[in-house]
């Protein structure tokens, strides 16, 4: 069966510091991978998605970036965090072999102070 991991689970970072969040998927090959942000009291905002290694599509212009160095690894980064980057970050996989739904990881709670 497929599993998806995210780490760290929680993170407190000062404004201006860098960020690296990691997501890995097990049990599937060549999945589509997604990064979402969920701000307090709001719905999900799609940040990036990837259909393959090195292929990244950005949905929202911001100071975040994403990379996919391996088939089942997806990384969310920032060089300098802003207060507005605080939120709950969710990674998801989906889109293989007619699977239209997405399966989510446990999330990372990021607080920028």
């Amino acid at each position: 069966s497929q599993t998806i991991h995210q780490w760290p689970a929680t993170l407190v970072q000062p404004v201006g510091s860098p960020l690296s969040l990691e997501c890995t998927v097990e049990g599937t090959s060549n999945p589509n991978l997604y990064w979402y942000r969920q701000a307090a009291g709001r719905g999900l905002q799609l940040l990036f998605y990837s259909v393959g290694i090195g292929q990244i599509s950005s949905e929202v212009p911001q100071n975040l970036s994403a990379s996919r160095p391996q088939d089942r690894q997806f990384i969310l980064s920032s060089k300098k965090l802003l207060l507005s980057d605080s939120g709950f970050y969710l990674c998801a996989w989906g889109g293989t072999s007619g699977i239209y739904e997405q399966y989510f990881g446990p999330g990372t709670r990021l607080t920028v102070t």
Binding site: G43, Y49, F88, Y100, Q102, G107
Partner: protein, 116 residues
């Protein structure tokens, strides 16, 4: 283009009574529809999915939803609420027939409160 409207931001029911969470959608293609549940500080869990098979879909934890094309609705129901059902629920539409790997559109969520 596709969109999802969850008609209630908050729903409060007593334990043991029925649950109804309402969702309307619009889609240019034959949609796939999903309900997800999110407990506090957790990821989203897929409750059920409709993908053009049976219009009445049964999911986990006793939830079910009925796809009604004429009403463009996909309401989520449960006959008897349990305290553990208290969570945020998201209605989601996918019209992958329109292309694009990012084809999910999320509703804004309904917060389900269970009164003891």
């Amino acid at each position: 283009a596709q969109s999802v409207t969850q008609l209630d931001s908050h729903v409060s029911v007593s334990e043991g009574t029925p649950v109804l969470l309402r969702c309307n959608y619009s889609s240019s293609y034959s949609p796939s529809l999903f309900w997800y549940v999110q407990h506090p500080n957790k990821g989203l869990q897929l409750l059920l999915k409709y993908t053009s098979a049976a219009t009445l879909v049964k999911g986990i934890n006793g939830f079910e939803a009925e796809f009604k094309k004429s009403e463009t609705s996909f309401h989520l129901t449960k006959p008897s609420a349990h305290m553990s059902d208290a969570a945020e629920y998201f209605c989601v539409v996918s019209d992958r027939g329109g292309g694009g790997a990012d084809g999910l559109t999320f509703g804004k969520g309904t917060h389900l409160i269970i009164q003891p």
